[in-house]
């Protein structure tokens, strides 16, 4: 067991907030988790300290998102508290009050992309990204790794950090061919200026503890060792659990604890997980104990049967192959870049984005300036089924003079009326300026 440091816990179950009365993301979601955490007396342990979340501000949200038409229209108070809880976790770690922290908050955020026309995958704003950009502003530009262990591909976090070479995003999730949101394949490997800092590991249904830990040991930990992040963040979704009602995996509470024990995240943030009685109480206790460096060997779901949860041999073999392929791919990222890009000066992404929760469709065209000196200037042209047509200019942080000049020029020259743009945004992430016209 490792040295017992101090672990911060930010618990905000939002007992008075739901997407709708019978939606999985409802008041009751963390009720039994609270019962278990309280009954285990975790908050009395010498090295576990509970903190009250702060409330995030619209500025915190704008640093990450282009909210259409504005922040107030796409969020509720609950989102500000949930993001604020993640920010509090980061503050406590970065000011040295604790060694690591877990934001056990809801609602979740990892399906929220850069442009937000509404809620998708139960998410409105990306609470990890809001936290990361807040801490970068306060504590300097950090090299950050986000390890997303939610069962669903974190397409929102991937989108936000697609072009950021300083943020490594690794997602392990149930294969997109069998589960929402249907993305997260190994070929999704990052934008032209950040190739290899997005890594996707789709796992077949029925993957058990063995498979998850294999990917951790043989891919995630070696990549982290090379990337050398200043901070490791676990996007801690809990829906890989064998009892989760909307997924098909076989991960256990002990497995989650082991993963966190080995990954040693500086900050963990709750994402999905909807087996509110059978999984969440045990998974969360396991994660808290593991982060606090305490013995989690007695954490076990009452109905857990390790024999029945064993993964079939062919799955083990498949996972070994996928892991090895992806690791090779990562090793070759530099040469791949030259091969893929040639001498292109701009790269374009065209996407149809579906907001399942709010039933909105968006057509988006994103253009990135290929740049060797910074993350690259981004422009986004987006039309949603709400009839909102927007255009956004995004200056990265840090930004090279060429990208900045070009961004300012574009923003100054757009003719809103002519292009039938309803809202025009300028997000200067380098100087923390946000303008909407």
């Amino acid at each position: 067991m490792r040295r017992r440091g101090k672990t911060g816990l930010i618990f905000f179950p939002a007992f008075d907030w739901a997407i709708s009365p019978t939606h999985p993301e409802r008041e009751e979601r963390l009720l039994y988790t609270q019962d278990q955490v309280f009954e285990e007396g975790l908050l009395d342990l010498e090295n576990i300290i509970e903190f009250k979340p702060k409330v995030a501000t619209p500025e915190d949200i704008q640093r990450v998102h282009i909210c259409v038409p504005d922040v107030g229209s796409v969020i509720t108070e609950s989102h500000l508290i949930s993001a604020g809880g993640a920010i509090t976790a980061a503050d406590k770690v970065l000011t040295g009050m604790v060694d690591n922290a877990f934001a056990l908050v809801r609602p979740p955020g990892h399906h929220a992309m850069r442009v937000v026309h509404g809620a998708r995958g139960f998410c409105n704003i990306n609470i990890e990204a809001v936290m990361i950009e807040n801490l970068r502003k306060k504590y300097g530009r950090k090299r950050i790794a986000v390890i997303d262990t939610d069962c669903h591909h974190g397409d929102g976090t991937q989108d936000i950090y697609w072009h950021d070479p300083n943020t490594l995003y690794i997602s392990i999730h149930q294969d997109g061919r069998t589960l929402y949101p249907g993305s997260g394949f190994p070929e999704e490997f990052g934008g032209p200026n950040a190739l290899g800092t997005t890594i996707n590991v789709p796992l077949p249904p029925n993957t058990s503890d063995e498979g998850f830990i294999y990917v951790l040991d043989h891919l995630i930990l070696p990549v982290l060792q090379e990337f050398k992040p200043d901070l490791i963040i676990n996007s801690a979704g809990q829906d890989n659990h064998y009892s989760d009602p909307i997924t098909n995996m076989r991960f256990s509470a002990r497995g989650y604890a082991t993963l966190n024990d080995r990954l040693k995240p500086d900050i963990a943030v709750l994402e999905g997980g909807y087996s509110i009685e059978g999984a969440l109480p045990y998974v969360n206790v396991g994660i808290i104990l593991a982060m606090a460096g305490l013995d989690y060997s007695a954490v076990r779901e009452p109905d857990y049967d390790p024999e029945a949860m064993k993964q079939p041999k062919e799955i083990t073999k498949y996972i070994e192959e996928v892991t090895s392929d992806i690791y090779m791919f990562w090793k070759k990222r530099e040469s791949l870049k030259a091969e893929l890009l040639g001498d292109a000066r701009y790269a374009r992404r065209e996407r149809n984005i579906h907001y399942d929760t709010d039933r909105i469709r968006e057509q988006q065209q994103e253009i990135i300036r290929v740049c060797g000196d910074c993350g690259g200037l981004i422009t986004i042209d987006s039309v949603a089924s709400t009839a909102n047509h927007i255009f956004a200019v995004i200056v990265p942080s840090p930004a090279c003079p060429a990208c900045r000049d070009e961004g300012e020029k574009i923003f100054g020259s757009i003719d809103k009326a002519k292009r039938r743009i309803r809202y025009l945004y300028f997000q200067d992430r380098d100087r923390d300026v946000y303008i909407c016209k």
């Binding site: 930010i10 008041e27 019962d35 285990e40 108070e77």
Partner: protein, 557 residues
Amino acid sequence: MILGIDVGGTHTDAVLLDNLQVRKKTKVLTIQENLIESLLGTADEILEGENPRALKRIVFSTTISTNAIVQGKIDRVGLAIASGPGLPPSLLKISEDTRFVSGSINHRGIEVAPIDAEEIGRVGDHFRKEGIRYLSVVGKFSTRNPKQEIRIRDLLNGDFSHITLGHRMSGNLNFPRRIATAFLNAAVWETYNTFVGEILKFKKQARLETPVYILKADGGTFEIGHSAEFPVYTILSGPAASIMGILSLTRCAGDAVAIDVGGTTTDIAVFSGGVPLLEPLGVTIEGHRTLIRGLKTRSIGAGGDSLVRYKNGEISIGPERDGPAAAFGGRHPTPTDAMIVLGLTDIGDSRKAAEAVGPLAKSMKIPIREAAERIFRETCRLIASAAGDMLDEINNKPVYTIHEMLEGKKIRPETLYVVGGPAGPMAAKLGELLGCSAVIPPHAEVANAVGAALSRNTTEVTLLADTEKKIMTIAEEGLQTGIPGNFSREDAVEVCREKLRERALLIGAADEDIEMEIVEDLEFNMVRGYSRTGKNIRLKAQIKPGLIAGFSGTDKT
């Protein structure tokens, strides 16, 4: 007439209240070796020449359980713990006489692993062989379903002197605290019950027919016969008596801070709307975190007799104490000496006080008076900042709903009550530092006894209704009963009020003192798949700490 006696660590205070006025008061040194003698001797003395039939109520506050725990004079307790999954046994074991047994209840109160009767038999044999006579049986989530604890006790029963069951101690969730609470309850059982026996004997001899109440840590009282089952509730009644005393002497109705400056330590308490705040889960004693309802106090190691030092350009106050103040023949300078030098009080030998502060002033290279001023200021600053921290902590307590997050009540004290020896010289300065108007309550020297005498009976009930399982549980009562599927929150509130009234009457409350309050009120839809399968209703109701009816404040005493 009401008789109140507080047997404190140093003094035993007694008051006889007649028509809510102090008719007699007395203060004597406590005989540590014989607390019962202190108590009964004082009672005899103050009742001398009085008509015992005129006594309506007798309340005792005693350190008997506290002392047993603090001095380690407790009985060996055999602990049978059904821990189920979660924390490892290594983090739960609080004594060598602990046996972990099969059986497990989950968060919803569902039995998920059975008890092994043979195993319990072996555990009982082991404890018997060890000569252990007191046991505690504690299960995880036993407040959600007490059946396994009850069954284990029945399997163990027979020749043990007493078995404490975890779920009877509190309705709050916290397994390690439940273990500690049940352990301590069994550990002081014999000591406390001997005390109860003596009191009842005295009552008989004195032909007193008046009900006798005992003060609890939460500033409430319970009837002595009932207290025999829950001896551990009587710990830390001293600080509770002091807080209730301040309440009874001041008619406090708003937000306030109370500071009791002692010789070695200073105790701080907080009132919200005239009600003293309770510890959210329970009090801590000798490192044991418990589920014992208790008033929230913070104690800091700084008082009138604290050792004052000057080192590396800084003055430090306490936390040690080495005898009395120099003005009273002590060997070291203390804050009391500084206050004497400053002329803030005329007690003790002012020459000796100045002599003690002298060397400090010399190392600080300032005049004696200025040094005294700095010591005084530092003492006040230390106490005020501890009070400020306590308020910050209360106001920043994590909450779990958006409503509380955005609209939650903040405590903004307007009044500061100061009691204790140096109250006079320090009150104004402390008030200034905390931004409050400072008040020194009258009769403060017997505040504890007055507090005990006038505290009402308190109790609480915790109700969980699960309409999916059609079961309602009242933890403290060990009660589980069927409910219809359409059982509503309103039904639950009614049951809660009824049970609370029953409990209050059982522990001797007068009808007019049953002032109920719902302190926790949550209702959740239980959804499985995408349809509603029931409701999970959680209520906690209490009789909050306060004064018995008819008492309306200082003007009458």
